[in-house]
């Protein structure tokens, strides 16, 4: 018996010596990679007038100017929708602009990003637009090495690779969708907005580009603010590029001020010298994603937790902002998962998870909910002239809120789900 125990001991010992190499775990990761397809910029820019019937597949920023809706097709271009009759919106044009995420319009000039470049486009004839100038590298964060070329498509390819096995407690591998995983759309400049100027359109609250007077203010990446002189659209010129804060997401102009919504607060900038905004301070809140809008007396900020935003707050904060240098919290309202918001007069609309909530904001310290519109995943709204425009993954909805307590649906422009 001793011999057998000895034999077993020898086998175990030999195993201990020989097996470590065989004890290495094997982890294979299969993922989908996208290989960019490049096209010469000259070719792309010469074919900017696209097919008006271009399918609506991945809606992005919304923007309104006069009787038109400009709806960004994420990274592809801009749908132009004739909204003379909000009950029957009609797609009348599509502008092929690869990499586009943002829109701003002053007079007959549309400003749009094409990845890192900024285009000034004459839209006097919306069916036959003309590019009148290009500012190269205005948004350097989105320059993916395409100086002469631009990404016009992606080739999908499934790939399997060996993954190095980490020892110790099991932890998460890189996860698709996290900031560390893939190139995201983070650095986008977004739609422009301004108050008090009849020649400038109106953007949603998630914009990261704003037109004020002769200047276009752009968040090129989450820490900076670029100022571009657009007084002569045929000669776009960078005026300044400053460090503005941390994790900046949205921009909203109010009077001669800029409010920059960040994941940790709201940064305030003065436009007394419009070519070079100067910091006035900031209002801090818990970490969360936060579109911000304002009226002359109050600022409204939605805080959203989850995804890459971090934090656990889901609320609507109303800030007293009569003196923008002395912003203070007025009241906080609990929300489900709020996103974009808009205000027209005393009516406040807030995208909140499965609904768009409607509030009577006559007294900002005591908001009264008047109702809600069931639009799942709505991410941004524009309210103007008693017509509410709601953007969601399923399409573009319009409502008549002449009577805020009895809102009437006007139309629904569907997004092709099979192309998502």
């Amino acid at each position: 018996m001793r011999n057998k125990i000895g034999l077993l001991a020898i086998v175990v010992a030999l195993g201990g010596i020989l097996l470590p190499g065989c004890l290495k775990d094997k982890v294979k990761k299969t993922y989908t990679m996208y290989i960019p397809v490049y096209t010469k910029k000259t070719i792309v820019m010469s074919s900017i007038n696209g097919d008006p019937g271009h399918a609506l597949a991945k809606a992005g920023q919304i923007y309104i100017k006069d009787s038109y809706i400009y709806l960004n097709e994420l990274n592809s271009g801009i749908h132009v929708i004739d909204n003379s009759d909000p009950a029957h919106p009609v797609q009348v044009a599509f502008l092929n602009i690869p990499g586009n995420q943002n829109i701003g319009i002053r007079g007959n000039i549309l400003f749009a990003d094409m990845y890192s470049d900024l285009l000034a486009i004459d839209i006097s004839n919306i069916r036959q637009v003309k590019i009148i100038d290009t500012l190269l590298n205005a948004i350097p964060y989105r320059n993916f090495g395409q100086n002469e070329n631009v990404i016009t498509g992606w080739i999908k390819k499934d790939t399997t690779v060996d993954v190095e096995t980490r020892t110790g407690t099991p932890i998460m591998y890189d996860v698709p969708g996290t900031p560390y995983y893939s190139v995201t759309n983070n650095a986008a400049a977004a739609a422009a907005s301004s108050l008090g100027s009849g020649s400038i359109g109106l953007a949603g609250s998630t914009a990261t580009m704003a037109l004020v007077g002769d200047y276009l203010y752009v968040i090129p990446e989450p820490h900076s603010l670029n100022t571009i002189n657009v007084s002569d659209p045929s000669k776009l010129a960078m005026s300044s590029a400053i460090s503005a804060g941390y994790d900046i997401e949205t921009i909203f102009p109010i009077r001669n001020r800029l409010l920059l919504g960040s994941k940790t607060g709201v940064y305030l900038f003065s436009l007394d010298h419009p070519d070079h905004p100067t910091s006035l301070g900031q209002f801090s809140h818990g970490r969360a994603c936060d579109p911000v809008i304002a009226d002359p007396n109050y600022a409204y900020v939605t805080l959203r937790s989850g995804t890459s935003c971090g934090g656990a707050s889901n609320e609507l904060d109303v800030l007293s902002a009569q003196d923008l240098t002395q912003v203070s919290m007025l009241k906080s309202y609990p929300m489900t998962n709020p996103s974009g918001l808009a205000k027209d007069g005393s009516v406040l609309f807030v995208c909140d998870g499965p609904d768009v909530k409607v509030f009577d904001a006559s007294d900002p310290s005591n908001l009264k909910q008047l109702g809600s519109l069931q639009i799942s995943g709505a991410y941004d709204v524009i309210a103007s002239n008693h017509v509410l425009l709601v953007a969601s993954p399923t399409g573009l909805d319009q409502f008549d809120y002449s009577d805020p307590s009895h809102i009437v649906s006007l139309s629904h422009l569907a997004i092709s789900q099979n192309q998502q």
Binding site: Y31, G168, P170, P179, N186, G310
Partner: protein, 192 residues
């Protein structure tokens, strides 16, 4: 996974039925011990119940293994005595079956993620030693040392981690991870 289990169960039924026709006796081997591999040492238990005839023992085994991701091996086990006398024996072990996952990933708060595991094949081979408490008794103390591998597959789907709200759809994606966990298992057990 259901297909694997059904095929394995069918095979076990066939084998045990064959043994049954030749008057094999019921035997139960149960072990507790460690699974040792690159990720460290984790607890494991298993039991094999089947029929023994002569130097052979064939049975259906089930276990619980905490190596890397908790899993339940379900397998057919065959052993053969190599060197035996009345009180003790050295025996060869061969196990094969499926590894069923029993693990739920808890993503970190910022990871808007869903995860699901799928079963994969499992095998192990090694040596064991049996020492009976008495010459005539059926109870015995068991020692085993096996080397093997179990495979689990995980699908991780991100649900729109997003910086700029309209851009959410771009970031969605699914990754598939195939984990082949190679371990040495040592165990102490009893036979009835």
């Amino acid at each position: 996974m259901t297909k694997h289990i059904l095929m394995g169960s069918l095979f076990v039924l066939c084998v045990t039925a064959c043994f049954g026709q030749h008057a094999g006796r019921f035997r139960s081997d149960s072990y507790g011990g460690l699974s040792i591999g690159q990720m460290g040492s984790y607890g494991q238990v298993q039991t094999v119940n089947g029929l023994a005839r002569g130097p052979w023992f064939v049975g259906l085994g089930a276990g619980l293994d905490y190596y890397r991701y908790r899993n339940v091996p379900l397998f057919l086990s065959a052993t053969r005595d190599l060197l035996a006398n009345r009180r003790s024996a050295l025996f060869f072990i061969l196990d094969g079956g499926v590894d069923l996952p029993w693990y739920k990933r808890t993503p970190l708060p910022y990871q808007n993620l869903t995860s699901s595991f799928r079963a994969g094949p499992f095998w192990a081979t090694g040596l064991g030693y049996r020492w009976r408490f008495s010459d005539a008794g059926r109870r015995a103390l068991l020692f085993s040392a096996t080397y093997g591998a179990g495979k689990l597959t995980e699908r991780q789907t991100a649900n729109g981690g997003c910086y700029d709200p309209p851009a959410c759809t771009i970031n969605s994606g699914t990754d598939t991870f195939d984990y082949t966990n190679r371990t040495m298992r040592i165990g102490v057990g009893v036979e009835f």
